[in-house]
C-alpha cells in the first residue's frame, strides 16, 4: 500500500508538486496521469526518498521509504530505465541488486529470461541495449526482490506494442496476486486498459482521482448535431459549455439523458449522443492541464 499525504515540492518560486494526496490499495493498479512536467516524476521521487518534500509525507505500508530497512524486498522501483551504468552487463546490474538485498545471485538468469532478455542479451553491456531492453531490465530489477509494491515511471516508454501488451499482463497478474502498482504515464490510452484507479495531475496539482469507471462515466457526453448553432444556443440556455472536437462532435459536461431530453424539447436534431468515455476523459484532461504558460518539461 502506498499513502501520499499533502506532498508539496517547491523549487524557488515554482511549485512543482502542490498538495498531492492519494492512496494506492493492495490488489489495484493506479494510473498516475499527467502531461510532461506535471509533477509525476517529482512525486514518485519523493515517495522513494530521493527528493526531500518541502512539506507533506508518504509511506509504503505505513512506513516512510527512508525507514525501510531493505526497501528492495518491499518496493520495486523503476524511475528511469536509462539510469544504469552503460559499462555493466545486464546480468551484473541484476546481480548487484540481488547481493544488496541479500538474495542468491542464482535467480538472476531466470529473472532475465522472464522479462524476455536471453543469455546473449544478459552478457551484453547496457550501453548496447535499446530503450525497450532497458525497460525490460528495469522491470526485472524492480521485481527481483519479490516486492509487494511496484512504483514505475513511464514503464511503457520504448516498448513495442507486443512489449506493452506483455507488460500489461505482468502488472495485472501482479496486482491480482495482491500487489500494489503505481504507474505513471502521459497517455491515458496506455493505462486505461490496465488501471483500476486513476490519479490525474496537472501543473503539480491533482485535477481528479477515483475509480476508472467512475471517472470515465463522469467524463461527459459526446453530442453531434445537424445544427451546431441551435445546439450552442441550447447549451447556453442550460448553462453548459461544450467543447468542439476535431471530428465535429461536441463534448458536453453532462449526462446523455439530460441532453437528450433538452434537445427533444427544443427540437434540436441529434445525430449522435453517447458517453464520451476515455476520449472524453482525455479531452477533459488536456483542457484542465493546458495552462496559460508553455508546459515545462519535467527533469
Amino acid at each position: 500500500m502506498i499513502t501520499v499525504e499533502n506532498l508539496t515540492k517547491t523549487y524557488g518560486t515554482q511549485r512543482a508538486v502542490d498538495d498531492v494526496s492519494f492512496t494506492c490499495e493492495p490488489g489495484t493498479v493506479t494510473g498516475f496521469l499527467g502531461p510532461n512536467g506535471a509533477g509525476k516524476s517529482t512525486t514518485m521521487r519523493m515517495i522513494c526518498g530521493l527528493t526531500p518534500p518541502t512539506t507533506g509525507r508518504s509511506a509504503i505500508d505505513g512506513v516512510p521509504y527512508q525507514r525501510l530497512g531493505n526497501p528492495g524486498r518491499h518496493v520495486g522501483v523503476l524511475l528511469d530505465a536509462s539510469a544504469q551504468h552503460a559499462g555493466r552487463t545486464g546480468r551484473e546490474v541484476l546481480a548487484l541488486a540481488a547481493i544488496t538485498m541479500g538474495l542468491d545471485t542464482d535467480r538472476v538468469s531466470e529473472r532475465l529470461q522472464r522479462v524476455g532478455l536471453n543469455d546473449a542479451a544478459a552478457k551484453r553491456r547496457v550501453r548496447a541495449y535499446s530503450l525497450g531492453m532497458r525497460q525490460r531490465l528495469g522491470l526485472a530489477y524492480a521485481l527481483i526482490g519479490d516486492p509487494a509494491v511496484l512504483i514505475l515511471d513511464e514503464p511503457a516508454n520504448g516498448l513495442d506494442p507486443e512489449g506493452i501488451h506483455w507488460m500489461r499482463g505482468l502488472l495485472r497478474d501482479f496486482a491480482d496476486r495482491g500487489g500494489t502498482v503505481l504507474l505513471s504515464s502521459h497517455l491515458l490510452r496506455e493505462v486505461e486498459v490496465i488501471a483500476d484507479r486513476l490519479v490525474v495531475i496537472g501543473n503539480g496539482r491533482i485535477l481528479t482521482q477515483g475509480a476508472k469507471e467512475q471517472l470515465l462515466g463522469a467524463a461527459g457526453t459526446s453530442v453531434r448535431t445537424m445544427d451546431p448553432a441551435a445546439l450552442d444556443a441550447l447549451l447556453q440556455r442550460m448553462g453548459l459549455t461544450g467543447t468542439r472536437s476535431a471530428d465535429g462532435s461536441v463534448l458536453v459536461p453532462s449526462d446523455p439523458q439530460t441532453i437528450g431530453q433538452a434537445a427533444a424539447a427544443a427540437g434540436v436534431v441529434l445525430l449522435e449522443l453517447r458517453p464520451a468515455g476515455a476520449g472524453g476523459l482525455e479531452e477533459m484532461f488536456l483542457r484542465l492541464t493546458a495552462g496559460p504558460q508553455p508546459e515545462e518539461v519535467s527533469r
Partner: protein, 263 residues
Amino acid sequence: MTATTPLSTVATVPSAAAAHRVPLSRLTLVELRKLADTRAGLWLLIVIGLATAATSVIMLGWADDSEQTFSALYTFGLVPSAVLLPVLGILSVTSEWSQRTALSTFTLVPARVRVMLAKVAAGVLIAVAATVATAVLAAVANLVALGTGGDGSWTLDPTLIWQSLLLQIIFVLMGNAFGALLLNTPLAIVAFFALPTVWTVLGDSIRALRDAAGWLDLNVTSQALLERDMTSGEWARLAASAAVWVVLPLLLGTVRVLRREVS
C-alpha cells in the same frame, strides 16, 4: 526478443518496518564488486597490475645488482598503485552521478551515509589488496634477482609495511573525497592530480608559504611514509596535511552526497 510468460512472482506482504537493515559488510562487498565490474574499472586494475609488474622488470633489467633488494623492489612497486588507485576511488563515487546509478543505488539503500561508508571501506580494502599484491610481486622479483646475481636481500623494516599501507589508503580515500566533493569524473581527476602539485609549486617558490607547505603539502609530508622510523614531527605534519586534503573534503563531499537531489 519475444514476450514471455507472465511472472509467477507471488506478491508477499511482509511487514516493512521489521526488515533488517542491509548490513554494511554486504554493502562493502557490493561496492568492491562495482570497482571491477565495468570496463573502465577492470582496465584500470589491469593497468595497475601490469605497471607494477613493469617496475620489477625495470629494476631487474636496469638497476645495479646491489640495488636489487626486496625492499627496493617493493617500494618502487608501490608507485603505480599509489598513483592510479585513487582514480578508482574517484570513479567509485562520481560514476554514481555521471552514469546516474545513484537513482537505483539510493532506492535500494536510502541511508546514503551507509553507501558512502561502504565506498570508503571498499577503498581501504582495495588499497590493502594492492599493497599485498605488490609485496607478492616484489618477492617473486627478488627470487629472480637472486638467480641472476642481484643482491636479493629480504630485509624490510616492519615500520615500512604499515607506513606503505597507510600511504596507499590515504591516497585512495583522497580519491573518494575529491569524487564526493566534485561529483564529476573529469573535474575530480584533474583536481586530484593538479591541485596538490600546484600547491607544491607555490610552496616551493613563495617564501611566505614555505612553512605552511611543510605542514599542508601532502606530496611532501607523505614522502616520510616511505622511509623507516618516522619521527613524531613527521607524523604530525602528515596528520595535518591529511586532515586538509583527505578528511575535510571527505566530510564536505559526504554532506554534498547526502543533500544532493537524485534525478
